[in-house]
Symmetry: C2
Subunit: 441 residues, 2 copies
Amino acid sequence: MSLLIRHAKVLQCPSPGAVRVLDNHDVLIRDNRIVSISPSGSAADTPDEILDAHGMLLMPGLINCHSHVPMVIFRGLAEDVSLEKWFNEYMWPLESNLQEEDVYWGMLLGLAEMIEAGVTCVADHYFFMDRAAEAVQQAGTRAALGWAVFGNQGTAALDRTAQFCKRWNAAADGRITTWMAPHAPYTCDDDFLRAARDRADELGVGIHIHVAETRGQTEAHVKKRGITPIRLLDDLGLLRLPTLLAHAVGATEDDIRLLADRPAGVAHCPKTYLKLAMGIAPVVAMRKAGVTVGLGTDGAVSNNTLDVWESMRLMAMTQKEACGAAEMMTLAETLHIATRGSAQVVGLGDRIGAVEPGCLADLILVDLNGPHHQPLHSVPASLVYAARASDVHTVIVNGKVIMRDRRLLTLDKADIIRQVSRSLERLSRRVPESRIQVYAP
Amino acid sequence: MSLLIRHAKVLQCPSPGAVRVLDNHDVLIRDNRIVSISPSGSAADTPDEILDAHGMLLMPGLINCHSHVPMVIFRGLAEDVSLEKWFNEYMWPLESNLQEEDVYWGMLLGLAEMIEAGVTCVADHYFFMDRAAEAVQQAGTRAALGWAVFGNQGTAALDRTAQFCKRWNAAADGRITTWMAPHAPYTCDDDFLRAARDRADELGVGIHIHVAETRGQTEAHVKKRGITPIRLLDDLGLLRLPTLLAHAVGATEDDIRLLADRPAGVAHCPKTYLKLAMGIAPVVAMRKAGVTVGLGTDGAVSNNTLDVWESMRLMAMTQKEACGAAEMMTLAETLHIATRGSAQVVGLGDRIGAVEPGCLADLILVDLNGPHHQPLHSVPASLVYAARASDVHTVIVNGKVIMRDRRLLTLDKADIIRQVSRSLERLSRRVPESRIQVYAP
């Protein structure tokens, strides 16, 4: 099967300092890979299918490096509360209602939302992940899945999550990869984290974990243990493996130097940090030191959406503000993080995140004809500061078109919403006594 | 003419502490006013026209309290630069290219963008405002227009802007109001500001002015003059009149106490502040003191769009972050500022900004059926944290439908974009030597 995308503008982010937009180019896809990029009209092939992209921008599909996608079922239920209350009085009590079926329908709903927003890959960290994987299989997207596990569930639970990794790694035509997913240093003891590391090592997978979510967590950990939580992960040997660190808002200068030397990447989720007043992550310092950073949304109970455009824009703006310098976090660097950075963070840096021959064809067409983009003096500026999820016109994953002209081709949106809404009342019940964990880092 | 909107959810924001959503209600509009709101099916009238709003939310049209709408023609031309460079090397050199015709087409383009985003009223502050007023007349929106003027243009120029106020106040079926619009204390001397005050007083209009855009401006002013720029405006008698203060990011505690006692309102434009690293405005302190605050976008050269949804969300999030408390700037307070607050700031607090009998019918229907809103546990949370400009389905201004099912009924979008794009090259020319002003506050 071959697919030719014609007359597109093409975004390329070769380095953090450079962004370029090719005008009027054709991109040829064969099976699941990009074969060639050439000025329009110069390709000799007769493709099986042609997409006309006149007036549109072709770019890598967005990647959501950290989420709990099925939590969309609780969207809007925990507003205007502190982080401590958010966990102890809202999130963890709500999750005591969670049923396996909710994960399946919630994952489908979140995937529908993300496809509509041009997100082609997600690193997800949640429960009942076999059902999440089935949803990904059906949706046609790419995903790096980890089954979340707490220390007090014991190593038997850990083994079950390792079994999940084994079952689904490289499944769905290679669209699914898996990670071990111990929740966080403050909910997993040292032995448990070591055991998680061993399982990951045996399986040849990475580790996706929350760490240093706030400066306060780092300080509390230093007080209790004498070292930062990031340093602890290193001491326990986790950072020898590919590690996906969610948040690291509370990373110290020492932590940043350490991370720059490890095969670790940071998933940055700025909307959650703002909404829960968690502080501003030191992204500029991380990038300066050479730490890989990618964009995430976190779950929809803190973010409210799964919109990576918004993560991108908020990262750029909050970093400028935090540095007190509008020159920081330029368009080029922001787009580099959103594409190549995110691909690296989810462990697929050699396969996705760029429109280049040889890359897997995870691509989106963005319609820049709306009045909010016009006149189009600068495509990069439009992408970072004006684009909306609703501007995404066409979505391609692994060479297959899964949204065309904003119609989802793999999912029945109305049915998914109907299925989720049936449980609306049960899902919103909140019994603080039946919380699944206690937040006391 | 009567119009019945049936089966809507209706947003009401009676106070900063309270927000409620009526379910399945009918709203009757006669001519340009809301006549009644009642549970669906209970109205006896036979209206001339019916709009079915099943699954949609009816709320006041959004109000953009501070913009320079025609600047959309320069969108994306000044990225990643400091405020000083933004003015001196980009904005003011670019504006030396400005022609009267650009204002007309730029205004139309910006109005198209705003209507699509549910913005029904804008307080605009720019040049060649007769052409802007013609565009508003044609678009069918509401606007509070001021012709921007600098001190070095002299009082003859001031008089021409006063003539504009006279010509257009209450024009277009009352949809247009006018303001005197001296640029800022740092570009207008005391005599000029006094003269502007006198013209406003004679005409019975308010004053729309930039002030204390950053903390640095306030400090520089105190150093030079011994008082803050806000105190200066008061000393010169401007704050005795209805005053629309753009930004006030650098308002001191004293300034805030002063403003609470004056008929002044603050237009808050958080995206500009973030992008240009101007600091976080003390909105929570202002609201606590009783200062009226509304939302604006500023021009599209700093904001990149004219999206008031984004202003609303950024205000809520940056205030939480700046206060270090997620409990601050609640959903209810945020929506109150976005509706009643903004209406007051543009001088129309008794006429727009609420869905209530007697109010002018400036209303929008927001489609909450998208996967990014589902399941719909909380309408207020969805509006503040999940809604996108593209969710706006129908727009009504002064009782007339001007967008239906996302089709603009008053403007020819394709033609407007064509007209603006013709001048793309001329507009992007930048000759720093021909800047229209120098920024040295």
